[in-house]
Symmetry: C2
Subunit: 339 residues, 2 copies
Amino acid sequence: MAATSHDVARLAGVSQPTVSRALRGEPGVALETRQRVEDAARTLGYVASQLGRSLATLRTRRIGIVAAELTNPFYPHLVEPLHDHFERAGYRSVLYAEREDSRVAFAELVDGSLDGIVLTTTLMGSPLPKALLQRGMPFVFLNRENEERAADAVVMDNDYGAVLVADLIAGLGHRHVGAVLGPLSTSTGSQRETGFRRGLAGHGLELLEKATARGPFAFAAGRAGLRSLLALTPAPTALFCANDVLALGALDEATRLGVRVPEDLTIVGFDDISMSSMARFNLTTVHCDLARLVADAADLLLKRIADPGRPHNRIVQQPELILRGSHAPPAAGPGPGHS
Amino acid sequence: MAATSHDVARLAGVSQPTVSRALRGEPGVALETRQRVEDAARTLGYVASQLGRSLATLRTRRIGIVAAELTNPFYPHLVEPLHDHFERAGYRSVLYAEREDSRVAFAELVDGSLDGIVLTTTLMGSPLPKALLQRGMPFVFLNRENEERAADAVVMDNDYGAVLVADLIAGLGHRHVGAVLGPLSTSTGSQRETGFRRGLAGHGLELLEKATARGPFAFAAGRAGLRSLLALTPAPTALFCANDVLALGALDEATRLGVRVPEDLTIVGFDDISMSSMARFNLTTVHCDLARLVADAADLLLKRIADPGRPHNRIVQQPELILRGSHAPPAAGPGPGHS
DNA sequence: TCCTTCGTCGCATACGTATGCTTGTCAAGG
DNA sequence: CCTTGACAAGCATACGTATGCGACGAAGGA
């Protein structure tokens, strides 16, 4: 149906290899021949088959991005700049939005249709990274990682960021502190929890087990977490949420319940996604430079594709506290009631 | 490097075609042979090359999704369910996030690496759809379309939805009405504008040219639009925004400027993306059932791939007004001042 | 005994491109 | 006049899988 390089060759009166060389601008083709080939290609509307090309070169110029639901507003902040980076480098992005990396069929990732993979949803204990490693399939951890250390990774210093939050909350004078934590099966969730506890301890405070809620990094978990923590007596006057999506969920639920932020309740998030800076949320949070995170990850992956034998690299970036409007000292009286 | 079907054949003591048939569960392979092949494949960790397979079958089981920036919160509502739909049907999604369909290199879409394409960012006058049509490349318009009528399309009844908004605003008693419109080069932008003007006219109202702002479907355009319209005298008491992203941008800018919604200003959007239902926004808007929109589009595309000769189908879905908290009658006095 | 039928498998080839090697031509230099 | 080299283009083949067709053997019936 569609024209092939053989059709072009026939029309131009040359051989198929000459067509291949001429259209790719390889040297060793006479100018006159090259133009005849280009004319023939234009006449036939010829477009080189990526399939044939990939099979011959064993390069597909496609990169897989394993991410979670895109309607979770965190992931677009990774996927979009990844896509743009790879596009500039001549690669296409194939989306694997499987919620968890272990749900991605391993075979789909190593069936030869990808040159490399970005993992953003890896769980602790997932066998996928090791399997990719054994197969020699280039990949990079982005934002999340797991126990596998013989791999490229670009992550935030989650522990440090959480300590910053603990310092802020303790410094404001809060004594009843709660947290909406992420899954322990994620490196981000567990590191942010550890850091927050450690930070509180530095101020003689403790995160009581009953003052914690835990759930997936989703709005609904933030909402549920806020409801359950407000039911405590005394209710916490400050809440650390393990990421912005949780924090925005909690913030929104507080609004719904008539709890004022920050007057009645301090809420601090982590990530600084774009929604958090909108005036209606104005969330105090830990800023992660996701653009730089993504840029580093894309670079590492492209370098590994170019040279599979190069030494592994683990890049840790420092986050930064962003003070907006969702934090304040605790109210003078007892903890906030709730209507 | 990676094992091929020839390696498996050698180990199992059969021919390569027998390996192919055995592993795909084709009939005509003896049970004992099949098991020997499966054992050999397992031993070698064999995964069939998608490239070889695609070249032989001329089917790639990949679908291209042409969308805009994913950080624009509208697009994830299309891309995610598309991805899930196609995955269930055994297809992978390749992302082309190029802002405009005309910026996507045509050759990339017809180089044989895709079985079909979803267009969500088509501009009026774009030559891409016709070119795809001429090449016999299956595609479907989703949400946006252009002049090309010999194609599958799934769109909302934008005109009708905009009339609903006009009815609401006029019914509330607003006389000074403004609008933040989308690009005329998009079918959604122009249809929503036309419908809104027609709806207002039905109530003896008019949308003055100076009471309109226009920009891309982005937060920033909503913010800028609100600022410029509030500078008018008299300032509009009600604003129709051509989609939710514009409306949320306007709403957020109003908050920033100290303009109260809905007391000082009514704002109505279009699309009903998930952010709009959050308590902090609580946006009155026109609900589009994007899940159904996407489902219909995915179905149409898969049917066309299966049968390229079938008649074209254009599905128009009816939107529905959702009354939340951003609309109210105009304030008794003159239009709102702004601090 | 011979022919038919069926089940099983291999042979040959197609899919479309890239690339190493060889051939052929022509001009320059000895 | 022969040799050498550069340049241009073709030949052969590789990449990995799928599939039409033919071959072969066993089983069954006439």
